[in-house]
């Protein structure tokens, strides 16, 4: 029991401390709610937003973009990362483009993609996929390259086929590194979705932020939306961790 308490108590205390600091800043600075609302006001708006059904449609839209974009981006990144690790040619040909694409901020790229593909699910998912692709591809490459060559020689001595080598040895050996990349990818997917939503459209948590800041001028709602986004990020990250643990336990 003391173990469970020991696990819950420190993060809880840190959270209370965070809220207290926030409230203290509001009191000391005596800021109006449209500059920095206090945690109580934000909590109120957060609850009201759920009760009134303000958040739901936007959350569902953002989640859909993340689901489609993350899946597509990661699915493309896995074979690409493998090819980068195992083929010198692929590494030489693809690496410059990958790095160049990554060096261009997605914020600058998003309007262009909106111009080509509109502001719907497709365009937004493409943006999410682009953001997810790079870190996952690189971590797959690093993980595959890091596999102990002696294990591969052992597998070769039992005449593994190429497919058996990949499925029975390389993927499980590289899994911790691959999942590490997916963890980075899923958090970046949230960023990508919000950025994509700023380019236009009618729904999404990013759209709601624009609305709250602009036409509604409801700054507590803006903060409540930020809270939803943060919780979404934590929930998605946690689900990747769950999958990771499940896979690790299955071995």
């Amino acid at each position: 029991m003391s173990g469970a308490r020991g696990r819950i108590l420190p993060p809880l205390a840190a959270f209370v401390g965070f809220l207290a600091t926030w409230q203290a800043i509001v009191w000391i600075g005596d800021y109006p709610a449209f500059i920095l609302p206090g945690p109580l006001l934000v909590a109120e708006r957060f609850v009201a937003g759920w009760v009134e059904g303000t958040f739901w449609p936007h959350l569902v839209t953002t989640l859909a973009e993340i689901a489609v974009g993350f899946t597509a981006g990661a699915a493309a990144a896995l074979p690409t990362g493998y090819a980068l690790a195992r083929s010198r040619l692929a590494d030489r040909v693809l690496s410059p483009y990958l790095v160049a694409a990554q060096a261009v901020p997605i914020l600058a790229l998003a309007p262009l993609i909106a111009l080509w593909f509109g502001t719907g699910l497709l365009a937004r998912s493409i943006i999410v996929a682009l953001v997810v692709f790079f870190p996952v591809a690189i971590s797959v490459m690093v993980a595959i390259r890091g596999i102990d060559r002696r294990l591969l020689e052992m597998a070769r001595s039992y005449r593994v086929t190429r497919r058996q080598r990949i499925v029975l040895v390389e993927i499980p050996a590289a899994l911790p590194g691959i999942v590490g990349g997916l963890r980075i990818g899923i958090t970046l997917a949230v960023v990508g979705a919000i950025v994509a939503e700023w380019t236009g459209g009618e729904r999404g948590l990013g759209v709601l932020i624009n609305l709250a800041r602009g036409s509604l001028f409801d700054i507590p709602l803006l903060f409540a939306t930020l809270t939803v986004i943060a919780l979404l990020g934590i929930a998605l990250y946690g689900s990747v961790l769950l999958v990771e643990r499940h896979v690790a336990a299955r071995g």
Binding site: R150, E153, R156, S157, R159, V160, Q164, A173, A248, G251
Partner: protein, 287 residues
């Protein structure tokens, strides 16, 4: 069994292993470094051969060429009268390190070769269980390699090498990472195992007493490029026991082998004190 030729009518008297004019070279920085310089060797069925030689002379390389992991530059390798042209189910290779898959249980590690060969789950697990029993690890089927001692891991590696019932078992300094006492015990265990499975064993070792204790013949290799410098018969009756380590014939044979080596080797003492480098890299690179 990559493109094994049509079952040649191997004479029943064909030796377990026959090496004829075996050459091998590494390419290092664009230079060809000859490692094996024409090795001729015949190994009788169900016999134990120990390979000794100066450090870096190509003993591990020779095992890899026999196992089909490295292509010979010239000459032939035959197992029971049929050539070896790549990794081969007739040959089991135990590396210097256990090389287990850390995410798999002991059972699944032993079953790995069977899984690769396409055996169904139930029979392959039954077979893996038998093999675990053979090496005294029956109760550790569910353990991960990380939960086992170094000696247990190496036993697991031997069980895995036996999974496809190879007629030839190649061991590359399999016990070099173990302490001296454990190592003596494992040598006895290896002989018991050999009596039960009846395969031919070729073993690389740095320890002359170990070579003499285990083997019917000790083959001394010359410095690189390696050739057979001497082939010493061990006239110690079987079954052998630890007490035989003190037998006069053993020290006499060991002295003979040392004379052939001309002091060019490191002995069990050097192994015990850690002076002997590991053989992760090809011998040619360790120069």
């Amino acid at each position: 069994m990559s493109d094994a030729p049509p079952p040649a009518p191997a004479a029943p008297a064909a030796p377990a292993i026959r090496l004829a004019g075996l050459h091998f070279a590494f390419l290092v920085d664009g230079h060809t470094v000859p490692v094996l310089g024409g090795i001729d060797l015949e190994v009788g069925r169900r016999s134990v051969i120990a390979l000794v030689g100066p450090n870096g002379c190509g003993k591990s390389t020779l095992l890899r060429v026999i196992a089909g992991l490295l292509p010979a530059a010239g000459g032939t390798v035959e197992v029971e009268g049929r050539p070896v042209s790549g990794p081969d189910a007739r040959i089991g290779l135990v590396f210097q390190e256990p090389r287990l898959l850390p995410w798999r249980s002991a059972l699944a590690n032993v079953a790995f070769p069977l899984e690769v060969a396409g055996h169904e789950r139930v029979p392959r697990e039954a077979r893996a269980r038998d093999l675990l029993g053979l090496v005294g690890l029956r109760d550790w089927a569910g353990a991960r390699p990380g939960e086992l001692s170094g000696g247990m891991r190496q036993r697991l590696a031997i069980a895995r090498a036996l999974a496809l019932e190879p007629s030839v078992l190649l061991l590359d300094e399999p016990f070099s990472a173990l302490d001296a006492l454990t190592r003596e015990r494992f040598n006895v265990e290896l002989l018991r195992l050999w009596e039960r499975i009846g395969s031919t064993i070729v073993l690389v070792t740095h320890s002359i007493p170990e070579a003499v204790f285990l083997a019917d013949r000790v083959v001394v290799l010359s410095p690189r490029p390696a050739a057979v410098a001497a082939d010493v018969l061990v006239e110690l009756p079987r079954p052998r026991r630890l007490a035989d380590l003190d037998a006069a014939v053993l020290s006499r044979t060991a002295a003979e082998i040392r004379a052939h080596l001309g002091g060019a080797t490191d002995d069990a003492f050097a192994v015990a004190t850690g002076e002997v480098g590991r053989h992760d890299e090809p011998d040619a690179v360790t120069a």
